[in-house]
Symmetry: C2
Subunit: 346 residues, 2 copies
């Protein structure tokens, strides 16, 4: 059954009020609004019906109404208007483009910090899992006879390096040969196809130098790291400013939950995309501590192999309109920056 225009207006007003004040909204407060020309009694009847339909809830008999998750969902999908970003918002958001960061991890983490400061909410930045990535280039740099740096460049532009110190000296020529063999043998194939058998080819071709086992170890680490997601939490303390989390236990539970990368898969529910931004409300987040919280998030892609996430976490009472507008603009900038910084697809 479709809602009447009046019901929609009332619902929208209630949710807007509740978002501002965090207090249950009563019929009188709504009736006094200039845009509603009805008495409180009429509003009461409408509210009662909205409650029956599941869009509103009563914390207790003699309090006002608060929106239910379904109410928020309707608000997000249909009612909330186009947001208005101030010039200051836009300036701040554009500063993402000035992020002078070199590594993906840090870029993502810094982006989270920026968004957190911009929105005054706790943010969550999750780096992508990249199992299908391939290595494009190896390079071993000799720094001294026993000190080397190995550098790996992937096809999506992620660069990793590590210092290696060998027990016995290795000549620059040997290191160069090893670089050559690595590039011949292990580039262009998915990292998870780099099996011990395959590495044996390198071993035979390059001869056994002191470097070889260290390179093998590094590769193992590298592959493991690529297939891991990392979570960066920023502005944790901001959560505590919201009255919903004046109960410390709730705040702690939620913070614990979202800091733990193993909980991330639970958050990957499918919802509609609005301008690249998704919103999950309360129980849509499953049954954990997130069931009383909401998340406004955007995703970013590293080529075609990985998809990361950057999102805002807070009580179900969030200013969805403003937040999604800001995040949409921000994530557009972030995606552009990532595309510039890392390789585009070949």
């Amino acid at each position: 059954m479709e809602l009447s225009a009046r019901k929609k207006l009332i619902l929208k007003t209630i949710i807007g009020d509740y978002i501002r004040t965090a207090e249950p909204v009563g019929s009188k407060a709504i009736a006094s609004r200039p845009e509603l020309g009805f008495s409180s009694a009429t509003i009461r009847n409408e509210m009662s019906e909205l409650e029956e339909m599941g869009y509103l809830e009563k914390p207790h008999t003699s309090a006002g109404r608060i929106p239910s998750p379904a109410g928020y969902r309707l608000y997000v999908d249909e009612l909330m208007g186009q947001p208005n970003l101030t010039a200051a918002d836009i300036d701040c958001i554009n500063s993402v483009m000035k992020l002078k960061v070199k590594e993906l991890d840090r870029m993502v983490s810094e982006a989270g910090k920026l968004i957190s400061n911009l929105t005054d909410y706790t943010t969550l930045a999750v780096t992508p899992m990249m199992q299908r990535v391939t290595i494009r280039k190896f390079q071993i740099i000799s720094v001294s006879p026993v000190d080397f740096v190995i550098v790996v460049v992937t096809d999506n532009g992620v660069v990793k390096n590590k210092m290696l110190r060998t027990a016995t000296p290795v000549t620059a020529d040997e290191a160069e040969l090893l670089t050559y063999v690595l590039n011949q043998t292990l580039t262009g194939i998915p990292v998870d196809a780099i099996t011990p058998q395959r590495f044996d080819i390198v071993r035979r071709a390059a001869g056994v130098t002191a470097l070889l086992t260290m390179v093998a170890d590094f590769l193992d680490e590298f592959i493991e790291e690529m297939s891991q997601q990392k979570v960066f939490l920023q502005g944790a303390s901001k959560l505590l400013a919201y009255p919903e989390y004046k109960d410390v236990h709730k705040a702690q539970e939620l913070l614990d939950f979202i800091s733990d990368e193993s909980n991330m898969p639970a958050l990957r529910t499918f919802t509609r995309d609005i301008d690249g931004v998704r919103i999950t409300i309360g129980p849509e987040n499953g049954t954990g501590p997130m069931q009383n919280a909401s998340m406004v998030y955007a995703t970013y892609n590293i080529g075609s192999v990985g998809r990361g996430l950057i999102g805002i976490v807070g009580p179900t009472r969030m200013d969805y309109a403003k937040l999604s507008a800001r995040l949409a603009l921000f994530s557009k900038g972030l995606n552009r920056l990532i595309a510039e910084t890392f390789f585009e697809e070949d």
Copy 2:
């Protein structure tokens, strides 16, 4: 004036009790301890004197006593016994040695996470400022005619890299020449001596390629980053478990304060070194939100140029004995790991 042995014993018992329970300690509770063979009245007299001396405080008339910062200081300096680490503690701490991390930032941040999980306190890891560092080696890796990776290795083993994508193609030979010139001109001098004038030498020697300005930009970023401190906060939510922070505002204030790197200098007060671990208590941390908190921390060195910090933050009521023991062991491992991973001094 020196404290009598009995006063010391009483003080130690009170502080130990308070650390466990977070409740003011009364005379009767102390008197019932087997190691104290006196009546509560006697204890009361002693407690009253300890209060006069400034080691104890009363929250209000009819509560027990709680330790003052001076009391904690005495406890830390003289009274607290040798800690006993369980086998599990030691196992967990040794896992720091298994940290397979490649970059200093991440190593430090992971170390913080480990300590946080080990101790159930919020931890703070601060990376060092490294102004006097010198560059030991440059390497530009060509990945494609327009894609390059620049790698910089410092004399203390920190490696940084960045993807560079030029607007116009640059040949591998040109890149090699640039690498050579960079190594000739800019290695072995402190990074803050790399002025625009000095860079002009590179410009003249290498010819103007599309790469050159990007390298210059990268160097600027690199130098700036080297001279910055970064703060990694781990286990923020753990703070909320302590009754001292059941008042959300206090927790928020403290978390905000310690997440802000600009507040770090305030924490660098001098205190005695116990086994590499330092403890600052309450007002010893200055007048900010840390004046009601304590910190147990250790430092780590990157060669001789930089000194970082890793520490545990919590209420003044902390189990200093246990924490400092754990941190001491941990930081020993961390320092060893850093020494192995990065270059030792030449």
